[in-house]
Subunit: 476 residues, 2 copies
């Protein structure tokens, strides 16, 4: 075939060019010819300036029609791969370098090495995703959806989902709201980002919490100010001196130290908001998972005009379903929508409608009941395993959520983390959750997520964890 | 029942309080009692300071166990609704105002009035969403997904989708890439926002384009500089003097004026990028929809190291499926991932896997073929209707995409828009797409989207449009 390529003295001969037309490739003959020519040029086999064979020659070589070749050349001229000038034939256009093979192939950022046991506290058991029930909801939701569900979306979120959420949050979390005050978002972080864009000044946060959440606050040009955390949760009395415009709290289950906010402090933070005009932002990240009693209801119920309630399905269902909700005071709805923009850019309609059906038909409650049993059992295993293997280490926090804190003797956290990593465990110590400006006494501890490992691997993860715990110090 | 409420001299009598326990409500008796109490307190029927009846009295009144009442009181104390002090019984806690009925009920932002005919150029026909094929893909995708698909997501996007996109974009758009160079995003705007966070200085844009896109650029602290648009697309020669670090183009079909970028300019912009180190950002928003010939391939294929190719399913499938893609030069992959963050926060795994299957099984190609026929027919109707009703108005731009421009006599655009609005038409004139700093001659025209109306309504929309067009001016 190469002998049909033009071989004039001005252009280098196109030796070694082998123009395969994949017989079964997608598209017609023209599309396949174009692909073959693009490949040959892109890979450098056909160099800039090379003259292509005349239409009739290439057509005869490949056993295709002359018009097909003419059309393919014309397309590639339009795309800039070839140049054509009256009387001088068709040439490969001046081109930049080809895509280097190693650039195209190698992942530029190596995937992180997977730990043997993932005990990070932020995810539920991915293997427990209710695939069948979710698909059943998707089927019903897509069948029932009005046509406009597939058009440009309302930035408030689908009304079906906001109705389902208002009813669900009222009965399960004591939230007082209506669908008009709910704005759907892609998760807690998205909601926090939207809120922060409306605030200025200082946001009080818990002295222990996710650095990622603090970075969202500071990324919006705000300052964070840490509130001491004790056995009753965040010290809300520190708000008086804080001169903060808002406070971000995890009232149901302080993250990561593990206590619920004491009733007096719940009342106090609402009083603070009422008297200063401040805003309480309630991160209800695992409010459904309480194992020893009914979950404590949301602070939002105490004052819907002062508390923003943020939740998502990241812990209750899956972090791969990117849906969260903002339950807003009336005066903030328009402001949040202004920050979100005039069309829905983030949350897909099918996913929203599927979750609405999943909640309304009871599948969400069934899934939560099942997962409460799973996580209650896991948390129950933590204490005896620890007691047998490391009796001097205390499990702190209430029986709730997807994580617990193993309190360590002072000064032993870093060594325990190193030992844990040697055991193939992925987890963090309390130090990595601590606000850098906090003046409260340092606590040593490991934050152990028991949600992520699949069922069969959990016992092994626990054993590995206990192996990593420090020996009892002589004076402890 | 009211007579069981405590009636001590210190607290007001709780007259008129009627504590209904919904017999069939969700949850157990305790949950229903708690809900009834929260409702009574939240609505103001039980005022702060009111003493609640003793456990045994209320239990007898309601015919439920004393422990249930005790538990419900304890929960509501923990939530902050009630206060309990040794020896003085249980009281309603000091509370802020109840949620006002009108605040809870009324939508705070009235939904925009729907036009009779939506001719905005940004959406496909929502009624044509391929529900059955999409659900079939969802079923296969969810069944085949590995467990980790339901865990924390890779911010690059699901590998299955990136594989499907690399193959699809190569054969349909001439894009040269590999799955490692694709980053999934929630749509064009998300991709542009991520890119802009890496740039500084000036981004050249087309003098006619979406104001929303320019606002993303300026929102990132960058300046925009308009390039004149003529019949061959954007004047790439103006880049030399522009001192821009990047240029944002719509090469397949200039938005909204409607021409493809000329081959010489495609080559020129790539040369500019190569010689200055600049970045070409290709907005391939409707590259699949060309009706008179094969679509012109992507500029990205000319230089994968200098061109970022951005696309989404917003026009090809539905703006309610929030999925887009960034095809990146190798050196930018890590930078974009750095801007996106360490976990997937935006795109749901089920939707990604569904789209991957939808592309791989041929459903996407089938849908595009079907929609090309629909839109080709609509565009075909535009010219004769216009010729019959408004022969002096020209339809400009190539036969492609979801919109056309009706060129109007100078000075008549605003009047035509007012007339269109009286006809219940939603559409914009060229003026609203024009860069405020552009010095090019003003063009009058209506940007007519023919994608959005459902099939049955399209003829009526066209007639209404022609009624709104200006009469032929004497001297035109």
């Amino acid at each position: 075939m190469t002998d049909s390529w033009g071989n004039s003295p001005e252009v280098p001969p196109a030796n070694g060019v082998d123009l395969h037309l994949v017989p079964q490739g997608p598209g017609g003959v023209r599309a396949r010819l174009m692909r073959a020519l693009r490949d040959a040029i892109g890979s450098g086999r056909l160099t800039p300036g090379t003259r292509l064979p005349p239409h009739r020659t290439l057509a005869a070589d490949l056993g295709i029609s002359r018009n097909t070749v003419a059309d393919a050349y014309a397309e590639l001229v339009a795309e800039g791969w070839l140049t054509a000038r009256q009387g001088s034939g068709t040439h490969v256009a001046p081109r930049p370098e080809p895509l280097e093979a190693n650039q195209a192939r190698a992942p530029l950022r190596p995937a992180p090495r997977r730990p043997v046991h993932d005990l990070m506290p932020t995810s539920p058991d991915a293997s427990a995703f209710p695939r069948t029930a979710w698909l059943a909801s998707a089927r019903r939701a897509v069948a029932a959806a009005p046509h406009d569900a597939f058009g440009v979306g309302d930035p408030r979120g689908r009304i079906e989902l906001r109705h389902a959420l208002a009813a669900y949050l009222a009965r399960s979390r004591g939230v007082r709201t209506s669908p008009e005050r709910i704005v759907v978002c892609s998760g807690f972080a998205h909601g926090l980002r939207l809120l922060c864009s409306l605030l200025d000044g200082t946001v009080a946060v818990e002295a222990y919490g996710l650095e990622f959440h603090r970075s969202i606050v500071t990324g919006a040009g705000l300052r964070t100010l840490p509130l001491t955390v004790d056995a009753r949760g965040a010290r809300t009395d520190e708000l008086t001196a804080a001169r903060a415009g808002a406070v971000l709290l995890t009232p149901a289950h302080q993250f990561p130290t593990g206590g619920p906010l004491h009733p007096e402090r719940r009342a106090a933070v609402v009083r603070w908001a009422g008297s200063t005009g401040g805003l309480v932002v309630e991160d209800d990240y695992d409010g459904e998972f309480r194992y020893d009693r009914e979950p404590v209801g949301a602070v939002q119920g105490l004052d819907p005009e002062r508390v923003v309630h943020l939740g998502s399905v990241s812990k209750s269902l899956s972090p791969a379903v990117r849906l969260g909700w903002m339950v807003l005071p009336g005066r903030l709805v328009d402001e949040v929508l202004g920050a979100k923009g005039p069309r829905e850019m983030w949350s897909g309609a099918v996913e929203q409608l599927t979750l609405a059906d999943f909640i309304a038909c009871g599948s969400y409650d069934r899934h939560l009941r099942r997962m409460r049993q799973v996580y209650r059992r896991r948390r129950g295993q933590l204490a005896p395993t620890r007691a047998r293997r490391a009796p001097h280490v205390r499990v702190s926090g209430v029986a709730a959520g997807l994580h617990a804190v193993l309190e360590l003797p002072p000064g032993t956290e870093q060594a325990a983390l190193r030992a844990a990593r040697r055991q193939g465990l992925a987890l963090d110590g309390l130090a990595s959750y601590r606000h850098p400006d906090s003046t409260m006494a340092v606590r040593d501890g490991l934050v152990v997520g028991y949600g992520t490992p699949p069922e069969h691997a959990f016992a092994g993860a626990l054993e590995a964890l206990c192996t990593a715990l420090p020996d009892a110090p002589a004076a402890y």
